[in-house]
């Protein structure tokens, strides 16, 4: 690799846009190059010094209102007596249903919140303690057998590198009082932890989105396994991850 190539590619390296092979090539060149090494340091420093969160602007409330007002979201018809009555009946039915679901929700929430809290803590811990992976390899056939005898499930491990999510490896973690498998992926500079554990029931549930402490979490159930995908990437990309994971796992369901 020449300096001219490395000069450009080191930006892709900083942005997490290179696959492992190319990243290694650039790093190898930079390490031994008196010209490129200070550049990489300089641009890494620049990237870290950018106060990114404070460089965002917040749209003025007046603009938000102007846009919201222009949406034909609700028909603005003058209500007649009949529709008022209908609205009242609907309202009563709705509030009854709401109250019933609240009771269920309250019972469910305690348990759910604790599990979600565990998931977030495990994710944060994995990023903090330099303990992202116990088995570090991008080979799915190494990761999967590694979990044998360590957890009481066989977690599905799929390689999504070609689809933009690099498989980094696997790790053991502890959530809701049980040992669980964590499969670790990377999207650019963001880490995605996919926790897999024994599901409470054999029903399948579509994925749902939640956020906690600023992390996006997708949770779903399939084939008696419960999945939690958590990351700081945006909700859409996390959904994309879940879709692609699902598509590789169940090619029949895909498309």
């Amino acid at each position: 690799m020449t300096c001219n190539e490395a000069e450009i590619l080191l930006h892709a390296l900083l942005d997490g846009e290179l696959d492992a092979g190319h990243a290694h090539q650039v790093e190898a060149h930079v390490e031994n190059c008196p010209r490129c090494a200070p550049q990489l340091r300089a641009y890494r420093e620049l990237q870290q010094a950018m106060p990114v969160a404070q460089l965002h602007f917040t749209a003025p409330a007046s603009l938000r209102q102007r846009i919201e007002k222009a949406f034909p979201a609700k028909p603005r018809r003058v209500p007649n007596r009949r529709s008022l009555l209908k609205g009242f009946v609907m309202g009563t039915a709705l509030s009854t249903a709401m109250a019933a679901s609240l009771v269920v929700a309250v019972f469910r929430t305690d348990q759910d919140q604790r599990v979600l809290g565990d998931v977030v803590s495990a994710h944060v811990r994995s990023l903090q303690a330099n303990h992202l992976t116990d088995v570090q390899t991008s080979d799915q056939h190494t990761v999967k057998p590694w979990f044998n005898g360590k957890v009481d499930i066989a977690p599905p491990v799929v390689d999504l590198t070609a689809k933009g999510f690099t498989l980094l490896g696997g790790r053991l973690d502890y959530i809701d009082g049980q040992a669980v498998a964590s499969i670790v992926y990377r999207r650019r500079t963001h880490v995605i932890n996919l926790f897999v554990m024994q599901g409470a029931s054999s029903e399948s549930h579509e994925s749902r989105l939640g956020t906690m402490q600023g992390f996006n979490i997708r949770r779903w159930t399939a084939q008696s396994l419960e999945f939690f995908a958590i990351s700081d990437i945006n909700a859409e990309e996390l959904q994309e991850f879940v879709n692609k994971f699902d598509a590789v796992l169940h090619p029949a369901n895909g498309t």
Partner: protein, 211 residues
């Protein structure tokens, strides 16, 4: 800047369109508007942020964002991607280049550099960056307040400012930036490289340190 009367005209025209849709009793359109609202409105701050950096004017940015959301709703049927944010950005960029290029001198050079000119021409305009820079790499950056950095970013020439805002502030991947801007990924990468070089130099110059 877009005149207030025209701005209201646009809003009214759109509202009228919306009422026609509702008047037809078309649940599909209502549903579309609601889906669009759910998907797009959460990105308002991001779209507004990009508009502020592209146009460098608060009032223009607000007008451009409103127009962007109007167009986005109109074309929402054609949206097929998985991520709506880059799609909104691409529309915003078109709004900025079309409607506002005539009004806003700030955008003059974005059209200039992108329509028909290549990166080599940009080099010719900015010969400084063609020469490998040695000095900035040896300096240490000092922490600056966000206001200063905003100004330094805003001072970058258009294509470079756009690249660095999309990457660093809006956290788009190279592929997404390439799609929004309509250039190859390689061009995105070289623009980013130069944008960072300029930004670092400006940052250090700001500190008044000897070069």
């Amino acid at each position: 800047m877009l005149h207030r009367t025209q701005r209201q005209g646009l809003a009214l025209a759109w509202k009228a369109g919306g009422e026609t849709m509702a008047g037809n009793g078309s649940d599909a359109n209502q549903d579309k508007a609601r889906r669009f609202r759910d998907a797009a409105l959460s990105h308002l701050d991001d779209v507004y942020t990009l508009a502020r950096y592209l146009l460098r004017d608060t009032a223009d940015a607000e007008d451009a964002v409103q127009e962007c959301y109007m167009r986005a709703l109109r074309y929402f049927d054609t949206f097929r991607g998985s991520a709506i944010k880059p799609w909104l950005f691409a529309i915003l960029r078109n709004v900025c280049r079309g409607e506002f290029a005539r009004r806003s001198a700030a955008l003059h050079s974005i059209d200039h550099s992108i329509d028909g000119k290549t990166d080599d021409d940009e080099d010719a305009v900015q010969p400084l960056w063609q020469v490998p820079q040695v000095s900035p790499e040896t300096e240490m950056l000092r922490q600056r307040d966000a206001e200063t950095i905003r100004r330094l970013v805003a001072d970058l020439p258009d294509p470079f400012r756009e690249a660095i805002v999309l990457r660093e502030i809006n956290d788009l991947s190279y592929r997404e930036i390439a799609d929004v801007v309509g250039v190859p990924v390689g061009t995105v990468m070289s623009r980013l490289a130069r944008a960072r070089c300029m930004l670092r130099k400006a940052w250090i110059a700001e500190e008044g340190l000897p070069k």
